[in-house]
């Protein structure tokens, strides 16, 4: 138990900070994923075959390729890509992007593919009559989306989004390979220096279980809130 003490003698405070880091990366990745979903969901539902194709390539490739491979692509390719863009603007120095940004971007793109599918499904299951009624009442496209589609879509999407959240949370463990100090990486460091991998990895598992347990409780509350009136 003294292994978990806070301060210099134990790993408690380090692991606590690492847990916060995992939460921070997960939330950032989830938000990046939402922005990707906000771009690709309309493309998926568009009438134009070409736009559908672009969105389908995104979701199919990301969901069919291992997360770890995507992370390696960003880890090794990320700064190269940024430097390429910067060189076009005449900036030729070496640019290193930090592990937090690469990690949340990589996980964000993955989580975005799942979110896109969830939003697409949710919008498609809204009754056709709702759109027609909005049109008849003279709602603008913008108002139709915010006042009619979005509230109904959220209710339908929340249970599936909670799955996406779980996947995202667990995927963040993979960015430990890039050196970002989150739960997995911190456990790896602690296990290495104390020669007690069994304890630290089991403790990491407990931390992840706690995170999933707490987030499920919170999401259930949201679910109740958004399904008022049904």
């Amino acid at each position: 138990m003294e292994l978990l003490a806070f301060g210099d003698t134990g790993w408690g405070d380090e692991l606590f900070r690492a847990t916060l880091m995992t939460v921070a990366v997960s939330i950032t990745a989830m938000l990046i994923g939402f922005s990707f979903a906000a771009i690709f969901t309309p493309l998926k539902l568009s009438k134009f075959k070409f736009l559908n194709l672009i969105a389908n390539i995104y979701t199919t490739v990301i969901r069919g390729v291992p997360e770890l491979l995507v992370i390696y692509l960003f880890f090794f390719g990320g700064s190269g890509a940024i430097m390429f863009v910067a060189s076009m603007f005449g900036y030729n120095d070496y640019i290193e992007i930090n592990a937090f940004v690469t990690g949340s971007f990589a996980i964000g793109i993955i989580s975005g593919a799942y979110s896109t599918e969830v939003f697409r499904g949710a919008i498609q299951s809204i009754d056709e009559g709702q759109f027609e009624a909005a049109k008849v009442l003279g709602f603008s496209k913008f108002k139709q989306f915010y006042k009619i589609v979005l509230p109904q879509m959220l209710r339908l999407a929340i249970p599936n989004l909670s799955n996406v959240w779980q996947i995202t949370l667990k995927d963040t463990s993979l960015i430990s390979v890039t050196g970002l100090v989150e739960i997995m990486r911190q456990s790896y460091i602690a296990a290495g220096s104390t020669r007690d991998p069994l304890f630290f990895y089991s403790f990491a598992a407990v931390l992840y279980l706690l995170l999933t347990f707490i987030s499920m409780k919170l999401i259930n509350k949201l679910e109740v809130k958004y399904s008022r009136g049904y």
Partner: protein, 223 residues
Amino acid sequence: MDFELMINSFPKLLNAAVVTLKLLSVSLIVGLFIGLLFAILRLNKNIFINKFAYGYSYVFRGTPLLVQIFIIYFGLGQIESLRSSFLWVILKEPYWCAIIAFALNTGAYTSEILRSAFQTIKPGIIEAGKSLGISNKIIFYKVQIPIAIRQSLPAYGNEIILMLKGTSLASTVTLMDLTGVAKYIISTTFKPIEVFIVAGGIYLFMTFIIHNVIKFLEKKYSY
């Protein structure tokens, strides 16, 4: 774009894909048995057995696969009694550690898929069997299991694809599977995009095949 590198790395990556497929098939077969066992335990009326099976699937579904592999590969070696037992022959090999972790992980998901499939079987079908005087055991093997397998095919197809992606974690315990070799080539040539296209293409091809096989089976066994 370095096309030469893409062409040169293709055979190496293809060889590595064989390792990936081996890992996948062995862990799926073992995982299916674990899943079936725990699905049956979940349906048991004894509350302790029931809770035990629930706990198993909760823990393995609630923690990242990476943690599970690390506990088995790095953690179990620490237990002295395990090191001196015959199990050590298996547990010192990263290959078997990865397979144990994958099988336990997919077993947890499979048990959930099968459990919900068993629960969707209409009681009328079982009652019909009983009223025809068929024994419970035969009803289970000849009626419940075939229906459950058909019901769970779509979800199980997804699980196979998730597991295919999961096998990439074997590269973290020194195994040279498709992702492991891809990472090695990337880190020696610093050409991530080219290697990603080739390795990702091979993964996509495998998911494509799995997807279509499952679709075919669904059609074949639809009623």
